[in-house]
């Protein structure tokens, strides 16, 4: 399959090499290990493979079949047709990393535009060409910060309202640094930002918060940022890019690092990936940023050109001295985000951001008015996600909603034992008022006994 060789080709080529049969080329492999018998299913033609994959896919329920209020780090937004259509150009998706700028200007300029869009959305000075996802971008922020202080500051503070998966990933990445303390996200500190601020000291390298936070809340981080900076610590903000259509960007708030999950920018949910992690810093940290960077320059004729730059920081040159081993970026996903933001433009993107905000608030208000349901943190503004407390076990409630073709939300008590009977709903522009009213009808039918 996919090999073009005719019998004659093989014969001619073998003759040229001076071998009798193809097997002769593998004599270097110890004989007892050569040509193992593999237990794999018989091969399929394209037609059969498509049928098989369609069959497997049909065993899934999708956000098209169900009314979905799932969020918690992944959001079901409308993706304009132009995005995927352009992504399917072979010139984009079958190209490799743009190491040869003369024949990679398309990819390079698209990354340059992506970097610029991220800087403009986040209010930061420099963006890299992306990390794998929001969680790994968060881990890279911790690596950057500890390296920035040459490992002299031994404390990193994470908000408990930072996505639990980001916190887990950070701990995985940093587990071999036995002297580093990762604190601030314990139950005792809780999700009140005051308790986190109280822990900032001169040994703190980095404070990481989320904006809007994991529960969708829009927190005022002014005091936290001031306190961190007064102690010489860096501040990283994990941000939802959709919210930045409306909200003051982290750069304006004084964050040193802005990072986040780029999935909401035109990338399908696809059961968790591939997505993209964006990562941007203020100029002072420019040289500390890991991953690829595209810069503008000229060619020998003076023509505008784009190249990968500052590559001497990277693993293929610095080897064990590199601060990160990353050697890819989410190339095609950054292209998706760049096309998404371009075809929506300022107007469309603001519309999406506003629709999410308005519909989520309508939903919260309606749910709050149903007996037996309480919207948590009522005093704190939120964006498009909010926490609801119910009277029965969350599993039972979600099961009930599932029977009515609703993915009702994300159960919180596994990550937050203090939030018993709580679940979280996200509302995007794809949800209509009718959908919300239907959800409320179903919730209203719930037996509270």
């Amino acid at each position: 399959m996919f090999t073009p060789h005719t019998k004659n080709d093989v014969e001619v080529m073998l003759k040229s090499i001076g071998a009798e049969k193809i097997e002769d080329l593998f004599k270097v492999i110890p004989e007892q290990f050569r040509y193992p018998d593999l237990s794999l299913a018989p091969r399929l033609t394209e037609m059969e493979a498509v049928a098989e994959l369609e069959n497997i896919a049909s065993a899934n329920g999708t956000t098209k079949d169900f009314l979905s209020f799932l969020g918690a780090g992944a959001y079901d937004h409308y993706i304009p047709a132009a995005v995927d259509n352009l992504l399917q150009r072979g010139e984009f998706y079958t190209a490799y990393t743009p190491y040869q700028p003369e024949i990679s200007q398309g990819t390079l300029q698209a990354i340059f535009e992506f970097q610029s869009l991220i800087c403009r959305l986040t209010g930061m000075d420099v963006s890299n060409a992306s990390h794998y996802d929001g969680a790994t971008a968060a881990a890279e922020a911790v690596i950057l910060a500890t390296g920035h202080f040459r490992n002299k500051r031994k404390k990193v503070l994470l908000s408990r309202a930072l996505n639990p998966q980001y916190r887990q990933t950070i701990r995985t990445y940093m587990q071999t640094d036995e002297t580093l303390q990762i604190l601030g996200d314990d139950a005792e500190t809780g999700t009140n930002i005051k308790n986190l601020i109280a822990q900032i000291d001169n040994d703190t390298a980095l404070v990481m918060v989320q904006y809007p936070d994991f529960f969708g809340r829009i927190i005022d981080y002014k005091e936290l940022i001031e306190t961190a900076h007064a102690h010489g610590a860096l501040v990283a903000m994990a941000v939802n890019p959709t919210a930045l259509g409306l909200l003051t960007p982290p750069g304006d708030l004084g964050a040193d690092i802005a990072l986040g999950e780029g999935q909401p920018l035109g990338i399908p949910l696809s059961f968790g990936g591939p997505w993209l992690g964006f990562f941007a810093v203020k100029n002072a940290l420019l040289r500390k940023i890991a991953g690829r960077l595209v810069g503008e320059t000229t060619d020998v004729e003076g023509k505008l050109a784009y190249v990968l730059t500052l590559t001497a920081r990277e693993q293929h040159i610095r080897r064990e001295k590199a601060s990160s081993n990353i050697c890819s970026n989410q190339g095609l996903m950054t292209l998706a985000a760049t096309i998404y933001l371009s075809v929506l433009g300022k107007h469309g993107f603001k519309q999406v951001s506003n629709l999410c905000y308005q519909k989520a608030h309508y939903a919260a208000e309606q749910i709050a008015s149903i007996d037996g349901f309480e919207v948590m943190f009522p005093e704190t503004p939120f964006f498009h996600e909010f926490v609801v407390k119910c009277e029965q076990p969350v599993d039972e409630l979600l099961e009930h909603l599932l029977e009515h073709d609703i993915f009702g939300g994300y159960k919180l008590e596994n990550d937050y034992p203090e939030l018993q009977n709580c679940f979280m709903l996200a509302v995007t522009e794809k949800i209509s008022r009718e959908d919300i009213d239907y959800l409320c009808d179903v919730l209203g039918e719930v037996d509270h006994d």
Binding site: I22, L38, T94, L341
Partner: protein, 486 residues
């Protein structure tokens, strides 16, 4: 022609894709949190489409021509992969849905774990790592945790052959391991004497790329692994070069303890202009408890009437989570599709034709270009891009001149142990005529190097841009477009 950026194309007030007006009562966002300005482009949908179409035309790609980029396995990316991975049943699934509603996805992942384990000879596989480099990080973390779990905290030395990819030392160093370089012998194998000397109770492991970056299968692989194991170390296999071995040899059979795959190399998933990749990691039985959390498993066996229930299992001594959710699922669907279409027979055929193509090219080119390690190669080989009689010509010049002939250059200046290296990997999907054309051009360039060296020094001549000023890019850093900003 220079293509303006999206910011240059922006005209205030122009709209692209629009959305319905709110169908709910609108309330105001608290003033204090509102941003003042949103400086993203304003353009029509068609203008955006033309812009990105125009950018695409400035790229070289597998779909356009031969891409013999060593160590990158630029094989054909079957179009059917793009169809299956976009099926709504895969693309429109939220990762937090109830497991009963994602049995298709979980089944596919479970099966792919088993396929990869079977192909490489291992007990278990995690699909979570996002790329080869993250697979390496995962694999080395597993090795580190394995030793720590046994109380062997002094095992901090990772041996890395001098021919290894730069990511090997970078991954190990991220975890605080001490990197000890291991020399190659004159045949390009691991130097056994040097290896023996370095094996003691400080040894954590050896990172072995086999075939190595010279495209050579290590003739002493069994002995190498034995030496490391006897010293209590583990062997990490860099699976970047698995394309040579599909259906021919299983690294797990000779005792490699951990191995990462690059689905975007070996299993035909597209490189996407630099990503997304996918770097599953396979382990032997003794390392299963250390896999990232979660892995996909059967949580209820089922019976004659009921299908098994797939779900997540949590390895007891797991190194933890290395990214959000479960891996690059969309990439996994493509790899699954590919393996289903090849089966055992097709996998072996792919490896055999990849090796045949490489040896054919090596044979045709080695008289004109110096071949430092002259033996049967696997799926790739390394030439020297220099000649004594024309000392001004470098590998870079040859690479750039190839572009004028509509070929992507080979990898150059890697591996570091070959001066002016040109690393050539044709892959199995290229036909003989393409290889012959490439040979003709390579021979012609060798001739031009003597008759008209300036042609090489000035190359490329007819690409969208000529050679770029990389010093200027690094000195006058311009990483963000300021067009339209105050």
């Amino acid at each position: 022609m220079t293509e303006p950026t999206i910011f240059d194309l922006s005209v205030p007030g122009r709209k692209g894709v629009t959305f319905p007006e709110p169908d709910v009562p609108e309330i105001a966002l608290p003033e204090a949190f509102l941003r003042e300005d949103l400086p993203i482009p304003e353009m029509s949908e068609m203008d955006a489409v033309r812009h990105f179409s125009s950018l695409s035309q400035k790229n070289y790609a597998i779909d356009l021509g031969f891409y013999p980029l060593g160590s990158c396995t630029m094989k054909y990316n079957p179009k059917v992969n793009e169809v299956t991975s976009r099926l709504p049943g895969f693309a429109s699934v939220h990762p937090l849905q109830p497991i009963e509603s994602v049995q298709g996805s979980l089944y596919l992942m479970y099966e792919l774990q088993n396929m990869l384990a079977e192909i490489a000879g291992f007990a278990g596989v995690t699909l979570m790592p996002a790329a080869g480099a993250q697979g390496e990080l995962t694999g080395t973390l597993i090795i580190k945790k394995y030793h720590a779990d046994r109380g062997d905290h002094q095992r901090t030395r990772m041996l890395i052959p001098d021919s290894a990819h730069g990511t090997n030392p970078a991954s190990s160093a991220m975890l605080g391991l001490d990197i000890v370089p291991l020399p190659s012998d004159e045949r390009g194998n691991v130097n056994l004497d040097a290896l023996r000397e370095l094996c003691d109770d400080r040894l954590a492991g050896l990172m072995l790329t086999n075939p190595n970056t010279l495209g050579l299968f290590d003739e002493n692989v069994v002995e190498v692994i034995k030496i490391v194991h006897e010293a209590g170390g583990l062997v990490y296999g860099d699976g970047a070069n698995m394309n040579a071995l599909l259906g021919v040899f299983r690294p797990g059979d000779v005792g490699i303890d951990v191995l990462h795959f690059n689905l975007h190399k070996t299993f035909s998933t597209p490189h996407g202009g630099g990503g997304p990749g996918s770097g599953p990691v396979a382990v032997q039985k003794h390392l299963l408890p250390f896999l990232p959390d979660p892995v996909v498993g059967i949580i209820n066996e089922g019976d004659d009437d009921e299908a098994p229930l797939y779900g997540f299992i949590h390895p007891e001594k797991s190194i933890g989570r290395v990214k959000t959710f479960y891996g690059h699922f969309g990439v996994l669907v493509r790899a699954y599709t590919y393996i289903s279409m090849l089966g055992q027979e097709g996998l072996r055929d792919a490896a055999e034709k990849a090796v045949l193509n490489a040896n054919y090219l090596q044979e045709k080119l080695k008289g004109t270009y110096t071949l430092p390690y002259d033996r049967v190669c696997m799926h790739e080989f390394v030439l020297e891009g220099r000649w004594k009689d024309v000392p001004d010509i470098h590998a870079l010049d040859i690479a750039k001149r190839l572009m004028d002939y509509k070929f992507h250059p080979p990898t150059n200046y890697f591996p570091l142990i070959v001066p002016e290296a040109l690393m050539i990997e044709p892959t199995e999907t290229e036909n003989k005529e393409t290889l012959d054309r490439f040979v003709d051009v390579m021979l012609k360039i060798a001739e031009e190097a003597r008759t008209n060296p300036q042609l090489l020094k000035d190359a490329p001549h007819n690409t969208p841009i000529r050679r770029a000023d990389e010093l200027k890019a690094a000195r006058d850093l311009m990483l963000c477009c300021s067009s339209g900003l105050e």
